[in-house]
């Protein structure tokens, strides 16, 4: 807290010509626990709680700019003008201002139970509405972007924070880049196919063997299961034998 009080005093000496207080606070993305922290057209910042307590009557604006505009950024340009209109960003203008609020909405101390974030890009109904230049519309491209907070009293800027680091949004690929071809065959499927093929081949071979045995009648009568009665063959003495003595005469 010591440096926090020292720096504004120091910078006040340097910046008295402009009347602009430089607050040593760097806007940052909110907690990475949030699944939707950075999407393809929005991002979520931590709220600048307790930062602007020296300027309780000022209106605090969020400035979103492309990184190239940071060095030449003019703080005096008022919000709501075409030079700072969301609808003109990034084609005609290199920065826009939005999410205006007062210190009342960023009070001290920070209540640790609630989720205190600023979602940049959540207003979708004013994207094309030129009557709403301070629209908090979704960002048109993946960026990168840099943001800072700027406080205005009336038409004069009175305080600003540091510029944030580059914030890059996500890019979405086309689903046709997903390769949905199979990763080959699993071991289970190969085992199953092999074993079944072998079993089937054995069965066919056994069938063939069975048919060959049947047609060649090679299997002997030992150990057969027969259901018919045994046929006995008897020798007959025919009447030819008794005729023979008559032929010898």
């Amino acid at each position: 807290l010591g440096t926090h009080a020292m720096l504004p005093l120091l910078l006040l000496l340097l910046a008295t010509a402009h009347g602009l207080v430089q607050i040593d606070y760097t806007p940052a993305l909110a907690s990475s626990e949030l699944g939707g922290l950075v999407t393809t057209s929005t991002f979520t910042l931590k709220q600048p709680r307790c930062i602007f307590r020296e300027h309780e009557t000022a209106i605090i604006w969020l400035v979103v700019a492309i990184p190239e505009a940071v060095s030449s950024f003019n703080n005096s340009v008022e919000p709501g003008t075409p030079e700072r209109a969301f609808q003109e960003f990034p084609n005609s203008t290199s920065a826009y201002m939005t999410l205006n609020t007062t210190f009342l909405n960023y009070p001290c101390p920070e209540s640790t139970g609630d989720i205190t974030v600023l979602r940049v890009g959540s207003e979708t109904n004013c994207i094309k509405d030129e009557m709403r230049p301070t629209c908090n519309g979704p960002l048109p491209s993946p960026g990168p972007y840099r943001v800072k907070f700027l406080a205005f009293e009336g038409s004069e800027p009175v305080a600003e924070t540091n510029w944030s680091e580059d914030i890059t949004l996500g890019t979405a690929q086309s689903p046709s880049s997903i390769s949905a071809t199979g990763s080959g065959h699993s071991a289970g499927m190969i085992t199953l196919t092999t074993i079944l093929s072998i079993l089937f081949a054995i069965l066919l071979a056994a069938l063939l063997a069975m048919l060959i045995f049947w047609s060649s009648d090679a299997c002997g009568s030992s150990g057969t299961f027969s259901k018919s009665e045994s046929v006995s063959v008897r020798r007959y003495n025919t009447h030819h034998v008794y005729d023979q003595p008559a032929a010898r005469l």
């Binding site: 626990e33 949030l34 699944g35 939707g36 922290l37 999407t39 393809t40 057209s41 929005t42 979520t44 989720i115 974030v117 979602r119 890009g121 959540s122 207003e123 979708t124 519309g137 979704p138 996500g170 979405a172 690929q173 086309s174 689903p175 997903i178 390769s179 949905a180 199979g182 990763s183 080959g184 065959h185 699993s186 289970g188 499927m189 199953l192 196919t193 074993i195 079944l196 093929s197 079993l199 089937f200 054995i202 069965l203 066919l204 056994a206 069938l207 069975m210 045995f213 049947w214 299997c219 009568s221 150990g223 057969t224 299961f225 027969s226 259901k227 018919s228």
Partner: protein, 255 residues
Amino acid sequence: MAKSDDGIHILQGLLVFGNVIIGACGIALTAECIYFVSNPHGLSPLLEASENNDISAAAWIGIFVGFALFALSILGIIGVIKCSRTLLMVYIILMLITFAFEMASCIMAATQRDFLTPNLFLKQMLERYQKSDNDKLTEQITQTWDNLMLQKNCCGVHGPSDWQDYTSAFRVTHSDADFPWPRNCCVMSAQGTPANIDGCKLGVPGYYNSNGCYDAISGSVNSYAWGVAWFGFAILCWTFCVLLGTMFYWSRIEY
């Protein structure tokens, strides 16, 4: 003769027992395949849309094979008891044909299971969920995913990041700022509406489903494929033994 008489009776008893088991398994296979075909987990549209619906075909073949096994087992029992060569020959030939069909069904189910990778479902979901064409299958896919995400408390295939990492048919009609992911990924209140829409859009843990649905899908598909492929495989192994026994028995019957 007494010894081979015992041999006959033991073999006959074994074959009758084997055929009884085959008949029972046939009924079980038919019942199981009817259960799968009746779409109990509601995932049929996803399988149908994957353009290679062999698991369904395998289940249909399983139904008919089951009936055939039951009928043939009765034929086999009669043939064994009556010691009839013709009956048993018919039995063996028809059983071999049934064996071939069931083998095809098992292999199809197992092969298709390997085909259903997470990327397949991801691509299907991105290309067809909430697509605004008037296709009936697209509507079924949308409904299937909505029900899946609601009932299993999941989002996307790998997670909600699927909707951010890829463009989709959903993204065409729903802007990223309002719908980073579909509404059904949000935790719902008792009334069926999202408990906290802003919390859901921000991705606050507890207000949206941060896990993917692939586990739920693969569980159902696995039980489907295992039921058809591996149960069929078990039946075929048993049938193999019974058939070999029957062939041996047949070759020992004298005319």
